[in-house]
């Protein structure tokens, strides 16, 4: 199932008129459990909250006499459901919310670690290097031939490879361990630093995939003489880890190992390059 365009069920923890107040500890544990399950929770209290939109609303509270009120949006646009949580612990509340989520077609969470490139358009110059680099069709272009992240769930978890080919340090992975890839400020020093800019072609004498391809071909011919497949796998792991360390590209070993075969890589790289070139050509002639 495509992950895009699914909405999160909005849960409101209501403690106003007609409902009992939770004590702070209960509020914390209820909220933490709901957040850990992936829900968005509005805690009613003093001050404003975000305005409503058209998505379903589930209002939880300890209502007077255990009686959850019936209500509907005056415009009939928003589906509002009230549920009484009196006597339920945080697990019970989560089970209740989960049932409501299923019946409201809201997004199911926790199936995929959200790892994908985020483009800083203040910095991006639309050079299309990321488009030509990524083999997994994560990038595409919008109607105005601008770079766009399109298939973010195709991105290889924990791999920040393309952020290192971007000459402007415009590609972020917010869950990356260090800056500026994690979104921390980009200093002049970092922008000019080879390590950040990583001219991968220069570094690897071709491109990173070419390098991997060569290595893997060399390894394959060596491994073909091996009898033990376990040993071969160990060697391959060692070889790839060394490559990643040498190049200082911080690509996790699982990602390197999951790269497609040499021919497929060549095909994909050519296709990605052609897409990027087509965009650049169209822009020049436009």
């Amino acid at each position: 199932m495509a992950i895009a365009d699914e909405t999160t069920l909005r849960v409101v923890l209501y403690e106003g008129e007609g409902a009992a107040t939770l004590d702070a500890a209960e509020r914390v544990s209820t909220l933490t459990t709901l957040l850990e399950k992936g829900y968005a929770v509005t805690c009613a209290g003093e001050g404003a909250v975000a305005p409503a939109d058209d998505s379903a609303l589930l209002v939880l509270g300890r209502f007077e006499n255990g009686q959850a009120p019936e209500a509907e949006d005056a415009n009939g646009k928003v589906a509002i459901r009230f549920r009484d949580i009196d006597g339920l612990d945080s697990e019970g509340i989560t089970a209740l919310v989960e049932t409501e989520r299923e019946s409201s077609n809201a997004a199911q969470h926790g199936e995929w670690k959200p790892w994908f490139p985020v483009i800083d358009y203040d910095r991006c110059t639309n050079c299309m290097q990321c488009l030509s680099f990524c083999l997994f069709d994560v990038y595409g272009t919008d109607d105005d031939q601008g770079i766009q992240v399109q298939n973010n769930d195709n991105c290889k978890t924990n791999c920040p490879a393309c952020s290192r080919v971007c000459p402007e340090a415009a590609i972020m992975f917010p869950k990356y361990k260090s800056g500026p890839i994690n979104g921390d400020v980009v200093s002049d020093g970092e922008l000019n630093r080879e390590k950040m800019k990583i001219d991968i072609s220069a570094l690897l004498g071709g491109d990173v995939y070419q390098m991997l391809r060569d290595r893997s071909q060399r390894s394959r011919s060596r491994f073909s003489k091996e009898r033990s497949s376990d040993k071969a796998l160990g060697e391959r792991t060692k070889c790839l880890t060394k490559l990643a360390a040498e190049a200082d590209i911080d690509i996790p070993i699982e990602v390197l190992q999951s790269l497609p075969g040499a021919d497929e890589i060549a095909q994909k790289a050519a296709a990605a390059n052609a897409r990027a070139q087509a965009v650049l050509d169209a822009r020049q002639s436009g």
């Binding site: 702070a24 914390v28 829900y39 805690c43 209290g45 003093e46 975000a50 203040d122 917010p174 979104g183």
Partner: protein, 131 residues
């Protein structure tokens, strides 16, 4: 008097980049404060699914305070989903860099110091204002 800022808290569910004690501490302080607030499991996940709820969270005229991570990342998580935050009235409190006490104090402080980066900003000197 200026409006009280609206509060948004990101629980950064699917990675350990925000220290557990910081997010737990901030959430606890918000729960104790009696302030209304929005809490989301993971802004990155919402951005990945281009969740329409991001538009709702970015909308409104009041100043907004967001407990999450780096302002540049937060700006473009929203911006990439056509749900731009208003740079003039948004402050992002970075739970990756602050202690629980400091982050909670920043969230509950009613004054807002807008800190989304501006176009192409680069910090010239280490330690200077980071936007």
């Amino acid at each position: 008097m200026a409006d009280k800022p609206r509060i948004l808290f990101c629980h950064c569910n699917y990675a350990k980049v925000v220290p557990e004690e910081v997010k737990a501490g901030v959430l606890k302080s918000l729960c104790k404060s009696g302030q209304a607030f929005e809490a989301v499991a993971d802004l990155c996940e919402m951005a990945a699914r281009r969740d329409p709820a991001l538009k709702r969270l970015a909308a409104g005229e009041e100043p907004v305070k967001i407990a999450a991570c780096y302002p540049r990342a937060v700006k473009w998580l929203f911006g990439g989903c056509q749900a731009p935050l208003n740079a003039a009235h948004t402050e992002v409190v970075n739970m990756r860099e602050l202690s629980a006490v400091d982050a909670a104090a920043a969230m509950l402080d009613e004054s807002v110091t807008p800190n989304l980066p501006e176009d192409g900003s680069v910090a010239a000197v280490e330690g200077e204002k980071k936007i």
